[in-house]
């Protein structure tokens, strides 16, 4: 079993690969050129954010995803006929953000548990715009670029926080 601090690089790597695979399989989009970057900065009001947490005792690994709403809408429009869904645009985007968080979180959980851990995962939730987490200890950040059907690049940010709460005396 690895120390939580040692987990940072391989958790980042598995998140990057899983995000790329998920976008390819679910949406037919190539986002494989991700890079480590700055933390989730402020966020646009139009951004859609989701969060999922893995926990094992005092160890918590939290993933926060931030998607450009335009990107999710464009993908939804292309894959499904949004009008026929008869749902508010926000609901559609939030559902997509949580579905991605669910797949990525589960895949990381399986990977970690395969290395001797016993993490449990909660159900992904929608959150408000993220605060800046760039200076947090134990945090890693991944930036993805995804081409919209209109040809523009839209961003996806993933913030990974790993924390180990000190045991009570």
């Amino acid at each position: 079993m690895d120390n939580i601090r040692d987990m940072k690089s391989f958790v980042s790597d598995i998140v990057g690969r899983t995000m790329a695979d998920t976008f390819d399989t679910m949406f037919g989009r190539d986002i494989s050129g991700w890079k480590s970057g700055d933390g989730l900065a402020g966020g646009d009001n139009q951004d859609i954010c989701s969060r999922v947490t893995l926990a094992q005792g005092p160890v918590q690994v939290e993933f926060r995803f931030q998607f450009a709403q335009d990107l999710l809408l464009a993908i939804a429009n292309e894959s499904y006929s949004i009008d026929t869904l008869k749902l508010p645009i926000d609901a559609i985007c939030e559902d997509m953000a949580c579905a991605v968080a669910n797949v990525v979180g589960s895949r990381v959980k399986a990977f970690l548990n395969g290395r001797g851990y016993d993490f449990e995962m909660d159900i992904p939730i929608v959150t408000g715009a993220q605060g800046d987490a760039s200076n947090e200890d134990g945090a890693a950040h991944l930036n993805f670029k995804c081409r919209t059907p209109g040809g523009a690049d839209a961003g996806i940010l993933v913030n990974i926080r790993m924390q180990e709460q000190a045991a009570r005396a």
């Binding site: 695979d21 399989t25 869904l85 749902l87 559902d95 579905a99 669910n102 589960s106 159900i123």
Partner: protein, 141 residues
């Protein structure tokens, strides 16, 4: 002997994520399946199951409220669902979950995200299971 045909089957897709439900429905319709319905939770699913005898039920494991796994366990205690194929569609990829689901009566298990070829493979598996059941039923006791 009539071979089970996906085009004639009644299919229910149960998942709390609209994205997953719509994606599975789109793929199933692409395979020629004309009758696909959706439910976003177990309550909605059981209401629909009370009215329609589905041939295949695609079930998410983890959903808010009652889990799809729990619904499948319940149905496997009920002879009315002996001929219904239950396919768990879950993001859980750990072997222990897959084994547990198959032991509890799942006909097949698909790990999300579901690629087109993958769904077709599992539908073929379900059809083979239905054929084996029909063959068994024809054999003298």
């Amino acid at each position: 002997m009539t071979k089970p045909n996906i085009a004639e089957m009644k299919v229910l897709v149960v998942d709390d994520h609209m994205l997953i439900r719509c994606d599975l429905e789109r793929q199933l319709k692409g395979m020629g399946c004309a009758h696909v319905e959706q439910a976003s939770n177990v309550k909605e699913a059981t209401d629909k199951m009370a009215v329609t005898p589905y041939n295949i039920i695609f079930l998410d494991w983890n959903m808010p409220g009652k889990s799809g796994y729990h619904l499948m366990q319940q149905c496997r205690q009920d002879n009315n669902y002996d001929g219904t194929a239950f396919v768990i569609v879950s993001a859980e990829s750990e072997e222990r979950y897959i084994i547990e689901a198959l032991k509890a009566g799942a006909t097949s298990y698909i790990v999300k995200p579901v690629a087109e070829g993958t769904l077709q493979e599992h539908v073929n598996k379900v059809i083979a299971w239905m054929e084996r059941r029909a063959e068994k039923a024809r054999q003298p006791a």
